[in-house]
Symmetry: C2
Subunit: 203 residues, 2 copies
C-alpha cells in the first residue's frame, strides 16, 4: 500500500554517478544532483539516505558498471597480458566520455574538508582492493613461472596502480586517448620477462 515511487532508482543512481564522476564528492551539490537526476531533494534522501551513502552507492555502481574490465583482466593467462589489458582498458575508459573524464576512484575525493574523511577513506579502500587483487594475481604468476623469481608482486601491483592513477589525472587534464595509450605502452616496456614457462596456460 501507499504511493508508488515515480522515478527509476537505477537511472537516478546512474545520473548521480555522472555528477560525482565529474565534480567529485564535495564538488557535487544537491543542486547539481537534483538537476541531473530530475528528482527533488527529499526523494533522494528517502531513497538513498544522505549524500555520503548516495556516493557509496554510486561508487558500487561505478565498479560493477565501468570497472568490469578489471576482474576480466585478472583471468588472462599471463601477468603481462593482465597489466596490458588493464592499462589499455583504462586509457579507453578515462577518455570514453567527453565530460566525466578520468576515474571516479581518483578524483572522487582525494583531498578536502575534514567532514569528507570517511568518503576519502572509502576511496582509499576501493583502490586498495584492486591493488590487492593485482598482487595476488602476480603472486600466482610468480608461482607459475610467468614472472621471474626476482619479481616483487607487491611492487608490481603498486607500480601498475600508480600508472593507472597517473593516467586518470592526465585524462582529467584533457590528455587524448592516444597519449594515454603511449603512456600505457611505456609502462609495459619494463615489464619483467617470463621466468620458466610463460605460455603454457592459454594455448
Amino acid at each position: 500500500m501507499g504511493r508508488h515511487r515515480e522515478f527509476d532508482v537505477e537511472k537516478a543512481l546512474d545520473a548521480a554517478l555522472c555528477v560525482f564522476w565529474r565534480k567529485g564528492y564535495e564538488g557535487a551539490s544537491y543542486a547539481d544532483l537534483t538537476a541531473a537526476i530530475g528528482v527533488e531533494r527529499p526523494a533522494l534522501y528517502s531513497a538513498f539516505g544522505n549524500k555520503e551513502s548516495l556516493f557509496r552507492r554510486a561508487l558500487e555502481r561505478y565498479e560493477e558498471r565501468y570497472m568490469d574490465h578489471f576482474p576480466r583482466a585478472l583471468q588472462l593467462p599471463t601477468a603481462r597480458e593482465v597489466a596490458a589489458h588493464i592499462l589499455f582498458s583504462s586509457a579507453e575508459l578515462n577518455t570514453r566520455f567527453p565530460d566525466q573524464r578520468g576515474c571516479l576512484g581518483i578524483h572522487g575525493n582525494l583531498a578536502g574538508t575534514d567532514d569528507s574523511e570517511a568518503v576519502r577513506q572509502a576511496l582509499v579502500e576501493f583502490r586498495a582492493k584492486g591493488e590487492a587483487q593485482l598482487r595476488a594475481r602476480f603472486e600466482r604468476a610468480k608461482a607459475e613461472g610467468d614472472l621471474p623469481e626476482t619479481a616483487r608482486p607487491d611492487a608490481l601491483a603498486a607500480y601498475l596502480m600508480a600508472v593507472l592513477h597517473g593516467m586518470a589525472v592526465q585524462a582529467k587534464a584533457g590528455f587524448s586517448r592516444e597519449m594515454l595509450e603511449a603512456v600505457a605502452e611505456q609502462a609495459l616496456a619494463g615489464w619483467p620477462a617470463g621466468g620458466t614457462a610463460p605460455s603454457n596456460k592459454s594455448a
Copy 2:
C-alpha cells in the same frame, strides 16, 4: 607612513601552503587558513587578494621551495639519471611531512565546483610545464644518443609524469616511502637503454 604590517608575509604564505597542501583549494576554508596563519581574514585579503590569488601565490612558493629537485634533476647527464632523481626525490617529498602528504600539484584541485575551474586549470598548466621541460630534456638526450632513435620523448615525459602523479595519490593514501621507492624502481626498470654514447658528458 602609516601603520606597519604586524605579521610576516612569507611565514603567512608558508602556513597557507601547508593548509592547501593538506586540504586542497576548495577544502581549505578561511577558518582553516586564519587558524593556521594566526592572522585575521581582512589582513589576508589586503596582503594577498582573494582566495584564488592566495592559492596561486602558495603554488608559486610550493614550486620554488619544494620542487627545486626538478630543475636540478634536468641538469644530470643522462635521461635515466634525470628520471631516477625525480622519481626518488618525489618519493621522499611525498612522504616528508606526516600531514600534508602527496603533491599540491595533484590534489590541490583535481575535481570540484565549477567555481574553481580557473584554479584547476592553473594546476593543469603547472603540471604541463614540468612535462614540457622533461620532454625537451629527453629530446636533447635523444639527439645526444643518450636515448635510442626509437624513443619517444613526449611519451617518456608523459609516462614519467604519470608515475609521479600516481605516487602522489598513493602517498596521500598513506603509502610508505619504501613502497613509493619500490614503485620508482619498477618505473625505471623499463627505461630505454642508451643509444650510441650514454656516458660521454659527466665523466
